[in-house]
Symmetry: C2
Subunit: 334 residues, 2 copies
């Protein structure tokens, strides 16, 4: 799946910024791929970029309308459909990260057929995926892993890719979730893959490469998550990472949404990740800790970081505060 | 999915017994659900039960024709199709464990529609599966786990169910693979579930039950398998087992089909299974070791068993040689 860029970002009638995380992520990580925003009249969010209709976007070279918001309930609201159909009529393809397929909406399917436009459902990967071989492949790979979901695994992989590229190193962000795929323009939504094929999908997401090339693979879930640990383990085995970065939120005490499940200690987490990683890459090692510390004051943050650096003898950063240079230094040293 | 029983077992033109494992499993485990076999003229395998045409079977009360063989290549051969269509014409439903769906074959789909018969693809579960909650549910559960695939996890769960039932205990075999589902008449093929939902599927396969009822859950894969470990971990978390049985083949040195992957030591395997099991059930413990020792002479077997019993202070049996009474004793003692 190669998504046609550049994008026009569709915000629909979204009421607040958290629901537009995907659109903000695209604006921030791949500004060159984003030409403008398309908002319905009652939209409450502004990305601070040019407003465009689909017709204006098409005539300025935009290839796809990308749904950049997560609607409440997870389904495309009926009031968005005329706007999406208008995009198809203007000659744009559609890109969606919803669970349901765009083609399941009759008006959208009919308009796509009539105007011969493509519908990209980034959560669905229709090409066959092989069973994992476990065979060692050339190229270097880093995987971000976590003590929980939603604490910066995608952000860390993106920031590290940017840091490495800025230094002239060969590095590619490898996407495993819908927003990541939209940013990269390709990838596989690993949690939507049939379970037998998860490790195999990870193998093709980060394929053989030049010996000095780094794939920076977006992690998913957590080994300590009562619902998603299997996804995490398959991704870990198939990625065969040389390097791991542990993502952690020091203020979180329990698995998000699962108040009966305590977060693991960092050392227990690292131990278990390494033990599993070594199955497919005995040389796997941690090269850093990436913190999500939006809730900490600077002095608290300094204390937490100093403590973790000393305890684990690893670079420890919040990428939003410090960038990822310290982790990239360690990566280039191994 | 509730499969209509009794079955007529279809053997097609199968050339040797290993390809008819499913049919033999059904004949041995649920003889009351099997009325006969239906073989093409060049079939080389005989289950030793009555030969019947679909029409004869239908008139003696059979409800489904069940494909009891794994065709080479995994697809239904064209030469089987007239026989399968004849079964639908006779009023039988079809049950298949193939990867592909029966309805994808136009002649079968048309005959099923015309004669209003149902097509059961046991590898596919079309009803929605929830995300795992991790919430503790009543009833006791045992899960068979392994140092590899294909070394007796289904057999052990079935034998334990039989042993417990024979003692008057409440026990139900819970199927997670296609042959198991055909035997139980229900279940979910866990390796065909989208990865996000594997733990959730395990929760609904072994639902809340009476406090003294045991679910005997068929394990899948292995935590040390480079392709399937994610399936195993999701099943382990969702099953929330009170009891685990480790299945092992003492003559196997490497993961089957993966010569670069050594089998783990039994103690390392138990340690890792327990560590993960305790996430969703802190009281989880091993209650036995189930060996697959078809390649061992009796004196070698005796030595292996004695060694393992002493080393792990657990019942250790090959269910084919000793039955599962020793494990059932331990189970009832916890």
């Amino acid at each position: 799946m190669q998504l046609p860029k550049p994008y026009l970002l569709f915000l629909g009638d979204v009421a607040s910024e958290p629901y537009a995380k995907t659109a903000f992520g695209l604006r921030d990580w791949v500004p060159d791929d984003v030409e403008g925003q398309y908002r319905l009249s009652d939209c409450q969010v502004d990305l601070g970029i040019a407003d465009m209709t689909p017709a204006q976007a098409a005539s300025s070279g935009v290839k796809s309308l990308l749904i950049g918001v997560a609607p409440v309930g997870g389904e495309i609201p009926a009031k968005w459909i005329p706007a999406l159909v208008a995009a198809l009529e203007s000659g744009l393809d559609l890109v969606s990260g919803m669970h349901g397929r765009l083609a399941a909406i009759p008006e959208i399917r009919a308009a796509a057929e009539k105007h011969r436009r493509a519908l990209f459902d980034v959560r669905h990967h229709d090409a066959p995926i092989p069973i994992a071989t476990g065979a060692k492949r050339p190229g270097k790979r880093l995987l971000t892993v976590g003590t929980d979901c939603a604490l910066g695994k995608k952000y860390t992989a993106l920031a590290l890719t940017q840091e490495m590229t800025a230094r002239g190193c060969k590095a590619t962000f490898r996407a495993t979730g819908q927003t990541g795929i939209m940013i990269a323009g390709e990838g596989i939504a690993i949690d939507a893959v049939v379970s037998d094929f998860v490790a195999g999908a990870a193998e093709i997401i980060s394929p053989a490469n030049q010996p000095d090339h780094w794939d920076m693979i977006e992690g998913q879930g957590a080994l300590f998550h009562p619902a998603y640990a299997g996804v995490t383990l398959g991704l870990l085995h198939g990625s065969q990472p040389d390097a791991l970065v542990l993502c952690h939120d020091p203020t979180r005490t329990h698995v998000a949404g699962y108040p009966d499940f305590k977060l693991p200690d960092i050392d227990a987490a690292m131990d278990l990740y390494l033990r599993h990683a070594m199955l497919t890459n005995p040389a796997a090692k941690f090269v850093g800790i990436s913190l999500n510390t939006s809730k900490l004051q600077q002095d608290e943050y300094d204390r937490v970081v100093e403590n973790l650096r000393t305890r684990f003898a690893l670079p420890c950063v919040d990428p939003l505060r410090d960038g990822c240079a310290a982790i990239a230094d360690r990566l280039l040293a191994i």
